[in-house]
Amino acid sequence: MTTSVYGVWDGEVHDFRRTQSGEPPSVLKGLEDFAPYNKTKAFIADRGFLVFERDTSLVEAFSQYMAQAARESCGRCAPCRVGTQRIRDLLQDFSGGSTGKGILESVEEIARQITDTSLCGMGQSCARALLDALQHFRSEFKPLTPAQAVFQHSFVYTTAPCIEACPSKVDVPRYIDGVKGGKFDFALGVVLDKYPMAATCGRVCVRFCETACRRSAAEGAVGIRMLKRYAADQAITNDRLHFTKSPLQHNKRVAIIGAGPAGITCAYKLLLDGIQVDVFDAQKAAGGMASIGIPSYRLPKDVLKAESEDIVRQLGGEFHYGRVLGQGFTVDDLLAKGYDAVFLGYGASQGTLLGIRNEDPKLAGYASGVDFLLKVHQHVEYGEPFAVHGDVLVVGGGNVAMDCVRSARRMGARSVHLIYRRTVEDMPAERDEVLAAEHEGVIFHCLTNPSGLVVDNGRVTGVDLVRMRQTDRDAKGRRNVEAVPGSGFVMNCDLVVAAIGQQVDKNVLKPEEGIELDRWNCITVNPDTLETSRKGVFAGGDCVLGPLTLVNALDHGERAAASIRDYLLNGEVHIRPARRMQNLLARNRLLADECLQTMPLHKKPVTVPELDAGERISHFKEVDRVISKEMAYEEASRCLRCYRLYSVVTEKQLPRETPAGHREPIFPE
């Protein structure tokens, strides 16, 4: 474990410059092996700085850090716009040997001004470590020596709590800037830099970003998702978004298994980079679980189609529908046919059994959550016959369960009951979904658990239920549940839906294909590069993670595409330095415990208008209405722009952050 020679962290001064003994505290984990075969010399953040190698030039490290601040400054407020440039220049002068009187005093004066008076988090945080250094280690500020100039390189990474919380690492404040500044297409472009499904994500994302939003410590988190949807809708619902085939074409072709969020994103990014793709999917439309699993009252199918199938086709991708991996073709076949790489994104779409008495998926009146939603989807979308009547009982407390009960209401069930073994507060479903289900008249039975099915003549006629109660808190403060003895009862029903989760279909891959699976049949991958155990085969999304979120799948699609591009054009796959930094920040929770320093002015959060509950249960039209432009501006103005800069100073230069290929051709053939 690397220990610091000197530094300041959270106001605490560490100084082991003269002592060899003692136990220097290790503040951060994972810095020592930040990059392989490359010594970490220093680390600079908003909360302080740490120097690990005595010969590190502190001036140069801060000069590069502040240079990044000057590049990142949005330029709206004066102290950050001008002050960062001024400090950068003064430090460069000093580093270059200029010893003009008062240089460091000037730096300190401006650093304090930036910190105290800047408008947003970027300015307020970017000079704090510098102030610490000047206050406690001014004697370490010395002109740069030629050796230091050769053996010292900074990798400065800009992020924010909302960005790091997002699996896709979407630059949230940047697209909120876009909305705030009236540049809706720019805002959309920030999202489209990561994945194509912006309007989809803007509707159904689980919003890790909003949970991390620092404004939630004031009057409530910024409505990040609604702003994303707003920006995306401006282009997509007005048919203003069109892509054309990339002018740069490599002679490479990738097979993508699964047209779900991961596969579509992977296809999109590869196509933008000039790599051809063929997308195979078992269904007859793109979208995967976003299509069959998310009802159209949450995500209209035309929106999904516009930014999955349509975009991929415009970019030159081809779809092969009704094709199931493992049924008629294998990964071996694909590679034998000449595909240069394969991306597996076939999802996790098998319903999990309840594991109770008399349970049998073939019974009439029994369905898994995904099968039920698929039938609803095929009925609503393609008019295939499917009717729901009588009393419906749905077991589960997640988003799929909510989708099932709300869909059952719309399909015309007489009554819809939700059975959940814990309390409402414990439900993993999003709060908004739970509330919406309540508003739509779903009857909740919490602290209730099924123990068996009542079957009559091959048909489910009821469910045996048992009451549950909460146990006392355990050592970690958690409460479990246990069955109340003798509390069994029966609820009659015409349909029971088991919506307690999905799993990966174990029949897709054959063992002889050499792709390693874990005990849940999930594909084992390198978590940074998404390489599977087989060369040239990459995987992502639910078939790797188990049933997780849309945005996790989007992230996997994007990162897999970057790895595939690396593999196809460079011959080997690299871990991007940004990825290393993200891992470091996550491991040390550097952005997770952020709190507000001062309360901002109260600005009432905008709420998304929605269709009246009484009206909406009669159809599958979208529940959330469009926010107005004024509302979008209002909401965007609530963003505090909590940008932070993190710099790792290494002995050797890190491989250049490879920008996505559509930004500039970096591997000309």
Binding site: Q68, R71, E72, S73, C74, G75, R76, C77, A78, P79, R81, V82, G83, Q85, R86, E109, I110, Q113, D116, T117, S118, L119, V156, Y157, T158, D171, R174, D177, G178, K180, G181, G182, K183, D185, F186, L188, G189, V190, L192, D193, Q234, A235, N238, R240, L241, H242, F243, A578, T598, M599, P600, L601, H602, K629, Y633, E657, P659, H662, R663, E664
Partner: protein, 599 residues
């Protein structure tokens, strides 16, 4: 709730800012970017620093007063040496990347930035950052409003006024770091929803936004002995420009303007008010015709920013717009035909220069349909600000001049009805006076129609025209936000009007986007200027357009009758849809992302 400022205990409401509490109590804190009149607090200049002690044991903090909520028990000091030093450093940084060539700045003489520098006691600017703009090409476009980023302080007032006051939303924030600024959405007037109303210029604290300056062209014409210069002055000019020369707001300087133009060597001096009277003859007749056909409502057409707004934002209502040209355009056409003919002037040598309170008039004059064979009816439009500049360049101080009077026998007389064109409701009232006469063959008894004279942004009234027309329903809007409301109500059928007057600028022409700028306030002299306009009406002998002798002569000698074929050909126009939406350019977004920062 209570807190202290400068040792004085003050009470305040929750969520009030330190600045609001200070202002309420008469305590001055220097500000730059905010503009209270349009409720704009962007917090970008960071000049309004105060010293805050949050509790007895707490240390001192330095905070911006504009965006920090006042909190129970805080002790604020507004002028400690440290606070003053910090404000000066802030100002120094603002000046550091500002193009400090004040001598060549369009805001020379009344700059808000310099005023704020004064108020914080700025003593030195030790460093300069010019990279953001030194290679910037000067804006050579033909659009009426010019943006110079080198003088922009990123206060975003222009964006705010365009969004919240006008609801046009043509501007976006552009660039990053030292290239941050604003730009038209889509990059040009044509691609953006911009209607060139010029409200952005009115709130700009510096010379970053200004009109396209054409004073030099006018000076060149004046100096050219071959050229016959013809000037026209809009109704609003005479009640606004006196302020430039230290006269009280609302002073009527019509006579001094005539004297000044004569002094400069203007060959023919006309009054746009004459054109306004002609407009009433045409538009009044047109409206009665439409009423007869039950085609309703009819929108007025004198305001060029409103025409732009209709063409760009609501092309489906264009058939409802009056086809009558604006007074400026009518003046140009009649001068280059009737006047030239009667006074024996070679039209090729005639230059019509109009002085307008308006930036959009520059664009109107350039419409191909308002000219003949590529020669525009109006050659140059000067805003009031350029006219002031012209006077300064000729060494003329309006307030020292002896008032003079018009001497043109053909196009300078005007009625009181024309005079009130410059304020909201004026066009409506002028039209009512003449329509009433046409229908009833007698003058309206109560000539000042009180129900038309409110100042709310959207007003409606019923007016009895008598005869077969009876009572008609009218509405008046000033400011495009209210206009949008009315237009949408017309489109969805919820509005029930016969005649709707629209002036795009809040306050009407007397506060138009081409009038003088004020500091730290938005249209502060609206009511004074308006009152003077009404007084001009009262003092004018003839108060109805149809009684203007020169107008009667124009029809008798030249045009036959209102809406005659000749009049229709010369004094009416048509409009066309100008959609401004474009495809989303995601590559541009990606290019911009790549440019900024290290990501």
């Amino acid at each position: 709730m209570k807190a202290h400022i400068n040792g004085k205990e003050l009470s305040f409401e929750p969520n009030e800012t330190i600045l609001e509490v200070a202002r309420k109590n008469g305590i001055f804190i220097p500000t730059l970017c905010e503009l209270n009149d349009i409720d704009h607090t962007p917090g970008t200049c960071r000049v309004c620093l105060v010293e805050v002690r949050q509790g007895e044991a707490a240390g001192l903090k330095y905070m911006t007063a504009c965006d920090t909520p006042m909190t129970e028990g805080w002790k604020i000091m507004t002028r400690t040496p440290k606070v003053q030093e910090m404000r000066q450093l802030q100002m120094e940084m603002i000046m550091a990347d500002h193009h400090q060539d004040c001598a060549s700045c369009p805001r020379n003489g009344n700059c808000e930035l310099l005023a704020t520098a004064n108020s914080v006691g700025l003593k030195q600017v030790r460093f300069h950052y010019t990279e953001g703009w030194e290679n910037l090409e000067p804006d050579q476009g033909s659009q009426p409003v010019i943006y110079d980023r080198s003088r922009c302080i990123r206060c975003q007032r222009c964006v705010a006024v365009c969004r919240t006051v006008q609801d046009v939303d043509a501007l976006e924030l552009a660039g990053w770091g030292n290239t941050a600024g604003v730009r038209l959405k889509g990059g040009s007037v044509a691609a953006s929803p911009c209607v060139t109303c010029g409200q952005c210029v009115m709130v700009c604290p510096t010379g970053a936004l200004s009109e396209r300056d054409q004073t030099q062209e006018v000076l060149d014409y004046l100096a050219d002995p071959e050229i016959v210069t013809v000037f026209q002055t809009a109704p609003a000019i005479r009640v606004g420009i006196g302020e430039e020369f230290g006269l009280p707001p609302g002073t009527n300087v019509e006579g001094q303007i005539i004297a000044a133009l004569r002094l400069m060597g203007a060959d023919i001096i006309l009054d746009t008010n004459f054109g306004a009277d002609v407009v009433i003859m045409e538009e009044g007749t047109e409206l009665l015709g439409r009423l007869k056909k039950s085609s309703r409502p009819t929108f007025t057409s004198c305001c060029p920013a409103w025409i732009n707004f209709a063409e760009k934002h609501y092309p489906q209502i264009l058939p409802l717009l009056s086809s009558t040209r604006s007074p400026q355009a009518v003046m140009g056409k009649i001068a280059k035909t009737y006047l030239a003919e009667k006074r024996g002037i070679d039209v090729q040598k005639m230059r019509m220069i109009s002085i307008m309170p308006c930036t959009a008039k520059k664009e109107e004059a350039a419409r191909p349909v308002l000219g003949e064979n590529g020669v525009p009816d109006v050659d140059i439009v000067l805003t009031m600000r350029e006219f002031a500049r012209l006077l300064r360049r000729e060494g003329i101080d309006l307030k020292l001049l002896e008032p003079s009077a018009y001497d043109d026998p053909l196009m300078s007389e005007y009625s009181g009805a024309a005079a009130i064109f410059g304020t909201t409701g004026g066009v409506m009232e002028a039209a009512v006076r003449t329509m009433y006469y046409v229908i009833n063959h007698k003058e309206l008894e109560h000539i000042e129609v009180a129900q038309l004279r409110g100042f709310e942004n959207v007003r409606s009234a019923n007016v009895n025209l008598g005869g077969e027309y009876g009572e008609i329903k009218v509405a008046m809007c000033h400011g495009l936000k209210g206009t949008r409301r009315i237009v949408e109500a017309v489109l969805d059928g919820s509005a029930d009007f016969d005649f709707i007057e629209v002036m795009a600028c809040p306050g009407g022409c007397v506060d138009g986007g081409g009038t003088l700028r004020s500091k730290k306030s938005y249209i502060p002299h609206a009511m004074k200027r308006r009152e003077t306009i009404f007084n001009i009406d009262r003092k004018t002998k003839v108060r109805q357009s149809h009684n203007n002798k020169q107008v009667q002569k124009l029809y008798a000698d030249f045009l036959d009758a209102p809406h005659s074929e000749k009049a229709h050909h010369m004094l009416h126009t048509h409009y066309s849809s100008r959609p401004c939406g474009v495809l989303a350019d995601i590559q541009a977004a990606w290019d911009e992302l790549k440019k900024q920062g290290g990501s």
